[in-house]
Amino acid sequence: MNRRQKLLLTGLTALLLITAQARPAEAQTRVSIGVTETMETYNPYGDSVSLLYGIWCQVMGCLGTYDFDKGDYVGMLAERWEVKDPNTWIFYLRKDIRWHDGSPFTADDVVHSFNRARNDPQSKQTQNIAPIASAAAVDKYTVRFTTKQPTAPLLEYLFDRLIITNKAVYEKYGAEADRKYPTGAGPYKFKELVPGQRFVIAKNPDYPGMKQLTQAPDEIIYRVMREDEQRVTALLNGEIQIAQFIPPHLRKRVESDPNTKATTVDSVEIMFLAMQPKPPFDKKEVRQAVCHAIDRDRIIATLLQGLAARLDGPIGPGQYGYDPNLKPKYDYSPDKARKLLAQAGYPNGVDVEIQTPVGRYTLDKQLNEAIAQMLNGAGFRAKLLTPEWATLWSNVQAGKTPFYYMGRGSIVDPSVALSQYFETGGSPRIGYSNPKFDKLLATERQTFEPAKRRKVLAEAMSLLTDDAPACFLWRHKMIYGMAKNIDYKPTPSGRIFGEDIRVLK
């Protein structure tokens, strides 16, 4: 053929090739999430932060989780459960789950996981199974947990916390199994983990139901970005598609960008001021004076730009046992505070030292600077200290911090947290002791009937609020920044599950 024809042929072939390539192969959707908590080890039992529980639950598997939309616990690897007698819980497992290497998931794996959580030398999760005396496999798909004492809030311990790992792989490879052969049973597979930097997981199409979720991301990269400004900049640059925990003053920046949007959700973390019952806080009037001295509404309206909900009692709406009519409610009244101080024997005010961490909770330092000033306006002479977190936390644990600002997260069922902080002997963090309160707490733990239990819990919380070993301040509203093509409703617990994310075109 002549030159012209050759040229034409080449041109046509090229065109064909190009258009053939142009039909896209199924594009992999990848979602990067900027998170503030960090992942440090390959061992699923080696971390104990909220974010990691969520990721390991997706990759390895959890018995169940708390569904905030439904307002109840739902099963993941467990299908259903029952309480046979006050100390015996039976979990019936799903029969259609397979480990990523193909082997079936069985009750033996659950028992193995329990043992690892308890005995693994790296385990930082022993407190999650503290109330359980033993675990046994009744048959291939049934597990029995025996508790030391009747524990009505057992699901708060187990669900979203106990990570289920593969027994056979661990027995074959030992401690190296976590790093070299991570084998999970969850809706996402382990892909890569760089400690302190990122955790990458990939969709598992073999998990029941995952194939239908075509809009769920094929790959999720959790990237550690602790600096607020960096996280927001990365979101606006397109480096990440979801940014967790944006501080209130940066929300406008996210909303005003045409490619991003901001969503808020109530957190289940309660923020409070703890007071040890030593002078001057050994007198109830002084403690109540603190609660009256702080204008929470004003702080929420200004510093937090409205992005928090005031707490009147230890818990808020959506948490188990919440009573909107809980009494007493502390109104802002410096006059009442001064009167109470005078009643307690401090007519000329009292010196106190309040301590807060810095950078651990939203605007912690600024909030406490405002709180200190408000205390000063109500008859106190408050000095604010901002020790390094390690120093503060160790002193709190050792019971050496008389007056401090703190948060307690992951509270769905408050029983565990209340026991930890306020029951006699729970921990030295506050050192509060009230036999009436102890009795109420013990009762609710053994009451399995929901309506009755709620009533006892409410009574206990009312007593606590009145006696005020802590002033319950607020729950932050968590702000998530997202790219406009992401459809995701954040959970109050801060855990991010891939199945809940939709990547729109």
């Binding site: 440090e40 407190q127 990269i221 600096e227 400004e229 900049t233 990365a234």
Partner: protein, 325 residues
């Protein structure tokens, strides 16, 4: 040169004592907020933290003698591994800082020193002064604000964008991308290191410029230079061959001296830019009271320091044949 071994021992002792005296320990810091006193006690027993301090110290020294630096509590991995994983990042950062400093400061210093009191000299001297007076973390913040936030020229932090580079072979992203001929990865690594290296190197730019300038000034009046000029050699040859090679000695001295400051400065710069090197690792270690990790890091810093000084000494002998040990 001093007896390194007793110094190393003393240093580890100092770190050990200080860390243990500070409130807090790995168990307290690493167990979740839901733990009880019983869990804490059990963890302490398991990790050997309930033993008296001197016993723990002796154990550490004995194992360190066999090059085993123990296990990091936070990362649940051998300290050596944890450090080795993040060391290349810091070395890359430091190397780039020195590169930037050398590229900017030396020509500027030479130009300034060759024409004292000219406008070139004034600019150069001002530059030098600005460099040594600049708080490097503040420069870092301003850079992030301008270059990343406003102009979107560079990424906001970190070392690389996920998905561009292949798996790392050496830990040095520049080397890896060249070895794998992945030019997109090379560009990505370069964009990420630019701001941190600038922030880290700014002080060094100042010092290096000043030293180069004064060194050139002095050498310019030396006999052999005057002779060379008298012989009729062009100014340029005089400058580069005679002046510069003799000015190299103080320059190398300064680089060596400043390396210590560089290592120290990397701690804060890495924190500002979320750069995953040993500087930010150190902060992580101290705030979680990870004794083995921090002690291991201090040992590493000291050894690095001493080694660098030895290399500098050797370089002297190489450059100036008049100095021979």
């Amino acid at each position: 040169m001093f007896g390194t071994l007793p110094v190393l021992l003393l240093i580890t002792l100092l770190v050990f004592v200080l860390l243990h005296a500070a409130p807090g320990d790995p168990a307290t810091m690493l167990l979740g907020q839901e733990n009880t006193a019983a869990d804490l006690a059990e963890a302490k027993r398991r990790w050997g933290l309930d033993q008296p301090v001197h016993v723990q110290y002796v154990k550490f020294v004995l194992s360190a003698a066999t090059a085993d630096l123990g296990r990091s509590f936070r990362f649940a991995a051998p300290v050596k591994e944890v450090i080795a994983e993040r060391l290349p990042a810091t070395i890359e950062l430091a190397a780039f800082s020195i590169l930037i400093a050398v590229v900017f400061a030396i020509p500027l210093g030479v130009a300034a020193g060759a024409r004292p009191n000219s406008w070139v000299d004034n600019i150069g001297t001002s530059f030098g002064l600005f460099g040594i007076s600049m708080p490097n973390f503040w420069l870092g913040i301003m850079l992030i604000l301008l270059l990343a936030g406003n102009f979107h020229l560079v990424p906001s932090g970190g070392r690389s964008t996920y998905g561009i580079a292949g798996p790392s072979q050496t830990g040095f992203y520049f080397l890896d991308s060249v070895m794998q001929r992945n030019w997109a990865a090379l560009k990505d690594a370069f964009l990420h290191v630019l701001m941190p290296a600038l922030a880290l190197g700014v002080n060094m730019i100042g010092i290096l410029m000043r030293v180069t300038r004064s060194s050139v000034l002095e050498t310019a009046t030396e006999e052999y230079v005057v002779t060379a000029r008298a012989k009729g050699l062009t100014e340029r040859i005089v400058l580069w061959r005679h002046i510069l090679s003799n000015a190299l000695i103080p320059i190398i001295t300064v680089v060596g001296l400043e390396l210590g400051t560089l290592l120290s400065g990397s701690i804060i710069v890495e924190t500002v830019f979320a750069w995953p090197g040993v500087g930010s690792l150190l902060i992580t270690g101290v705030t979680s009271r990870d004794y083995p990790l921090v002690t291991g890091l201090v040992l590493m810093y000291t050894v690095a320091f001493v080694t660098i000084n030895l290399i500098i000494d050797a370089l002297y002998a190489f450059i100036d044949p008049r100095i021979r040990y």
